[in-house]
């Protein structure tokens, strides 16, 4: 199988359908599969309970993050270092991937290469079948969501169980995750109690009390941990020099998955690679502080290939772990790598600091992004992974306020990439009426603004329109696109008596000053 050279460019730059399982779009007639951020978010934003839950959670985590980041005197240096490590690795990805493969193989593991989601799913299913298991336990993983693994396993008779508490809540409720780190952030404790009591816990036993809820989940999962023979994980970091995989988590359920079953399968995006263990230190300082606002996360599991011996709980003896397999996934990443501006997004370590500070995410929640990857990072990653035609809307899901860039531990310039993606989107607009109208208008406005004489005329016209039409437009403007979006909640500005340039020319600046 080809590996780093694998390309997923379809004809005319289109992207094969096989890569679009990360989309969570609703049915929209012929355009099924396309993300409609505006209509979805306009609906989601009316869910006041969801907004309250998310605002409460992100405000708390934001404050915690700020506190622990301020304790690190060389935080900015660390960010720069992390960004350099990632850029260097991405520029030499082929070399490091081969080094990683050699080291995994040497340690008794097996490396598989998956060009796209479909291939990764097939390999994973095949590996589970080989082990003879009919169920698997899962470590929290974004990439398995990206490839739609759970649904695929279920369709093929394998029952997956999420072991991360929040992922379990989503799985039991049939919810889609709405946050990278805290997938059930849209739910509060009362709702979670109801979900548990409706599924495995006894009715009336949990009282919306977090310790009781956690205890119930613990008991429910413990049995699965002890019985399962196959675990599936993602990976936070791949270390090329040793062939190691690192998982960073809070609950210890990941550690259970990685140590109890005899077969472990990891599915990891090729961009998760870093060269050395020393590099890992940089990221292990940045990641927990950025994501959960902790100085250090409770559990970091690092392993290499197939560990020599395992204690199996039932027999209370040690036994060789049967297999370790790792599937390295491209699924559009090499194409992203070819975009000079957009490739920065591949440095992402999925900390979700950008979600927690985003004023848009805080109001609309993760589901509005209609993608496995929500928030600012989702807005730059999704359009690049599935293409502008399906996800171009997301590039506009931002005021470009820059809060995301400021907190990003690997310095991804998210506003810059959003602007870049908007530019790609406007180039593709020629195929729709509204797109052409906008394009045409911006063309005309651009010509006017680029010419001082035309600008003088236009500036005077705007003033006149506001003066004579303003009061009327404030009333009827809500029926007039595109100003309806403004006038529904805001008045138009009042017209001045003179423009600044005219007053300056006439020497009447003082007449403009407020009394």
């Amino acid at each position: 199988m080809s590996k780093t050279s694998s390309t997923i460019h379809g004809p005319n730059g289109s992207i094969p359908k096989a890569n679009t399982w990360l989309l969570r779009t609703e049915h929209h007639g012929e355009e099924r599969g396309r993300i409609f951020f505006k209509s979805r978010s306009t609906r989601e934003i009316r869910n006041l309970q969801m907004r309250k839950n998310i605002s409460h959670a992100t405000t708390t985590i934001r404050e915690k993050r700020k506190r622990v980041v301020s304790e690190v005197p060389n935080w900015e240096e660390l960010r720069t270092r992390a960004s350099q490590i990632k850029q260097h690795t991405l520029a030499n990805l082929d070399v490091y991937l081969e080094e990683f493969e050699r080291n995994v193989t040497r340690a008794g593991g097996k490396v598989h290469w998956a060009r796209d989601a479909a291939q990764a799913r097939e390999i994973a299913l095949e590996l589970v079948r080989e082990s003879g298991a009919s169920s698997v336990i899962k470590v929290k993983s974004m990439v398995t969501e990206e490839i739609g693994l759970n649904a695929y396993l279920s369709e093929n008779g394998i029952e997956p169980t999420e072991t991360d508490l929040a992922e379990l809540i989503c799985q039991l409720a049939g919810d889609e995750s709405s946050h990278i780190l805290v997938p059930a952030i849209h739910r509060n404790r009362v709702e979670i109690r109801d979900i548990f009591e409706a599924t495995f816990a006894q009715k009336g036993s949990l009282e919306a009390d977090p310790p009781k809820i956690a205890e119930a989940a613990r008991k429910h999962l413990r049995e699965k941990f002890l019985r399962s023979t196959v675990a599936i994980s993602g990976g936070n970091f791949l270390v090329a020099e040793t062939g190691s995989v690192a998982i960073v988590e809070s609950e210890g359920n990941g550690r259970m998955c990685l140590t109890l079953p005899n077969n472990v399968i990891s599915i990891v995006g090729i961009e998760k690679l870093i060269p050395t263990m020393e590099d890992l230190e940089v990221f292990l300082t940045l990641l927990p502080r950025s994501s959960t606002g902790e100085r250090m996360n409770p559990y970091t599991t690092i392993w290499t290939g197939r560990p020599p011996a395992q204690m199996t709980p039932e027999r209370e003896t040690t036994e060789d772990r049967k297999s370790y397999n790792i599937i390295l996934l491209d699924n559009g990443r090499t194409r992203v790598l070819s975009d000079e501006v957009g490739k920065q997004a591949l440095a992402c370590i999925r900390c979700s600091a950008c979600l927690n500070v985003c004023p848009v995410y805080e109001r609309v929640g993760g589901h509005s992004y209609e993608s496995v990857y929500p928030g600012p990072i989702g807005a730059i990653l999704t359009p690049q992974l599935v293409g502008d035609a399906l996800a171009g809307d997301l590039a506009f899901a931002s005021t470009l306020c820059g809060a995301c860039y400021e907190v990003c531990p690997v310095k991804i310039n998210i506003p810059e990439i959003l602007i870049h993606l908007r530019s790609i989107h406007s180039d593709h607009k020629r195929d729709s009426v509204s797109g052409n109208l906008e394009r045409g208008s911006f063309g005309i406005v651009g010509i006017v603004m680029g010419n001082t004489n035309l600008f003088n005329i236009a500036s005077a016209s705007v003033s006149r329109i506001l003066k004579y039409g303003g009061p009327i437009l404030n009333k009827i403007g809500k029926y007039l696109p595109p100003i309806n979006g403004w006038v529904e909640s805001r008045n138009l500005p009042k017209a001045p008596n003179d423009s600044l340039r005219d007053a300056y020319r006439k020497g009447t600046l003082d007449a403009l000053l407020k009394k």
Binding site: I45, P359, E416, M449, G485, S499, R505
Partner: protein, 250 residues
């Protein structure tokens, strides 16, 4: 030292009072300031909406309008951010090569860092709250410069705005393209503004103020909205002598 003002197309057309105030204030500080009439728009709207080619043309024209000046004083943080932070990338060259986008300063940077203003003679006996625009914070990193200037005035009561670092929801064409979200952000920002009990809402960016004053008027609330340059100008209007209490020159 040749100094020009770059008020932004929004100020020029819709809020000329802010531009006039900045010019008068600079004159009172002994600065001879020109308003080059060649200037139109810096191209921010085109750039941010995805019309890069058009933005590039506007950027080139914008720079050439100011080619003969040593300093270009902006009173719109998002426009100054566009020139200083985005032009080098947009025009594909370092800032020196594109005609020195580094000479574009925001008013408070010019007053504090170049002129070295340490005191202002003037009174503004009102409760004021300051909205820190995203671009002032994270674009050109103004820090608290505008507030430092305001606090030089007698009688002013600056009331901190809760969550002042969060966006007001304007975002240029975002306010129209995603108006529902923009509205919620604007309303939450205004709830914090009302909570301060301030009589005057101010900022270093007329775009944010256009958004917020639009919301205030639609909600029929009584609150004065003005650019901080206007406050500085009004407060120092009574000073008969030139306000030369600064070290002068960098």
């Amino acid at each position: 030292m040749k100094v020009a003002i770059f008020p932004s197309c929004i100020v020029d057309t819709i809020f000329p009072e802010a531009g006039a105030a900045a010019i008068r204030l600079l004159e009172r500080l002994g600065v001879d300031v020109d308003f080059p009439l060649e200037q139109t728009c810096c191209g921010q709207m085109h750039l941010n909406t995805g019309y890069e080619t058009r933005a590039r043309k506007l950027a080139a024209k914008h720079l050439s309008s100011f080619s003969q000046y040593d300093w270009v004083i902006g009173i719109s943080t998002s426009c100054t951010t566009t020139v200083r932070e985005f032009y080098p990338q947009l025009l594909g060259a370092t800032s020196a090569e594109v005609g020195g986008s580094g000479k574009f300063l925001e008013l408070s940077e010019f007053l504090l860092d170049v002129l070295g203003v340490t005191e202002l003679e003037g009174t503004f006996a009102k409760k004021v709250t300051f909205h820190t625009s995203c671009h002032s914070l994270r674009g050109i990193h103004l820090g608290d410069r505008p507030q430092r200037l305001l606090s030089m005035l007698e009688g002013i009561e600056l009331i901190p705005l809760p969550k002042s670092d969060s966006c007001c929801g304007f975002g240029g064409t975002f306010s129209i393209k995603n108006s529902a979200i923009s509205t919620v952000m604007m309303e939450e920002k205004l709830a914090n503004v009302y909570w301060t009990g301030a009589e005057v809402l101010t900022a270093a960016d007329s775009s944010c103020l256009m958004n917020l004053s639009g919301g205030i008027q639609a909600a029929k609330k009584q609150l004065t909205v003005m650019h901080y340059a206007e406050i500085l100008e009004i407060a120092t209007r009574q000073s008969q002598k030139k306000l030369l209490n600064h070290s002068g020159g960098r």
